[in-house]
């Protein structure tokens, strides 16, 4: 079964600075990966997903992530953050053939003015 590690519980970043949120998953032959975001007082919203194909995945709100099979990583990046990006970000993974997805503990992104 999959496991997902988000090493950073909180990440403070100045507005307009770049950010990277780290995610590592346990090794698997075939895996699919997601990043979800939870804005304050809202549900989980899908940012982007990787199923197959290009290892660079572009999502909503200017976010992108890169699938790195050798390092079993799926880090999330944004070149310039805004106050509106303040939220908690969850990395999730699933094995192909298994319906459930496994979440990491989440990373809170704090945007500093």
């Amino acid at each position: 079964a999959q496991s997902v590690t988000q090493l950073d519980s909180q990440v403070p970043v100045f507005e307009e600075a770049p950010v990277e949120l780290r995610c590592n998953y346990s090794s698997s032959v075939s895996v699919y990966l997601f990043w979800y975001v939870q804005y304050p007082n809202q549900g989980l919203q899908l940012l982007l997903k990787y199923l197959s194909g290009s290892t660079l995945v572009k999502g909503i709100n200017g976010f992108e992530a890169e699938f790195n099979k050798s390092q079993t990583s799926f880090h999330l990046r944004k070149p310039s953050v805004h106050i509106s990006d303040t939220a908690e970000y969850f990395c999730a993974a699933g094995d192909v053939g298994d319906d459930k997805i496994i979440f990491g503990k989440g990373t809170r992104l704090h945007i500093l003015p």
């Binding site: 979800y36 989980l44 699933g94 319906d99 459930k100 979440f103 503990k105 989440g106």
Partner: protein, 114 residues
């Protein structure tokens, strides 16, 4: 198109009482999932329905939890009797297909057992 709707948004109950959470998935979505997040920890899978059938209930904590999805539409998750450790946010999600397709999440029900 309406999203996934969960009722209630918050519930505070005493230890030993019963609580029923409800989830209305997106119309036409055969797959329905329940997840739970205990404070400070990861979001954990509880179970998965395909239409009215339980496909995977490996994440259900114990027999105090009962999930149903009669008719393959809305689902309920009952906790009876509730314990303090059941406190957390319960999320419901639905998807049209399986294996890696996007699951749409509701806003969650925050359950507090006192």
């Amino acid at each position: 198109e309406a999203g996934v709707t969960q009722f209630p948004s918050h519930s505070v109950i005493e230890k030993g009482q019963t609580v029923t959470l409800r989830c209305d998935p997106i119309s036409g979505h055969d797959n329905l999932y329940w997840y739970r997040r205990v404070m400070g920890k990861e979001i954990k899978f509880l179970l998965h329905f395909v239409k009215e059938s339980k496909q995977d209930e490996s994440g259900m904590p114990n027999n105090r939890f009962l999930a149903e999805r009669t008719g393959g539409t809305y689902s309920t998750l009952k906790v009876q009797p509730a314990e303090l450790e059941d406190s957390g946010v319960y999320f419901c999600a639905s998807s049209q297909a399986r294996f890696g397709t996007e699951a749409f999440f509701g806003q969650g029900t925050r359950l507090t057992v006192v």
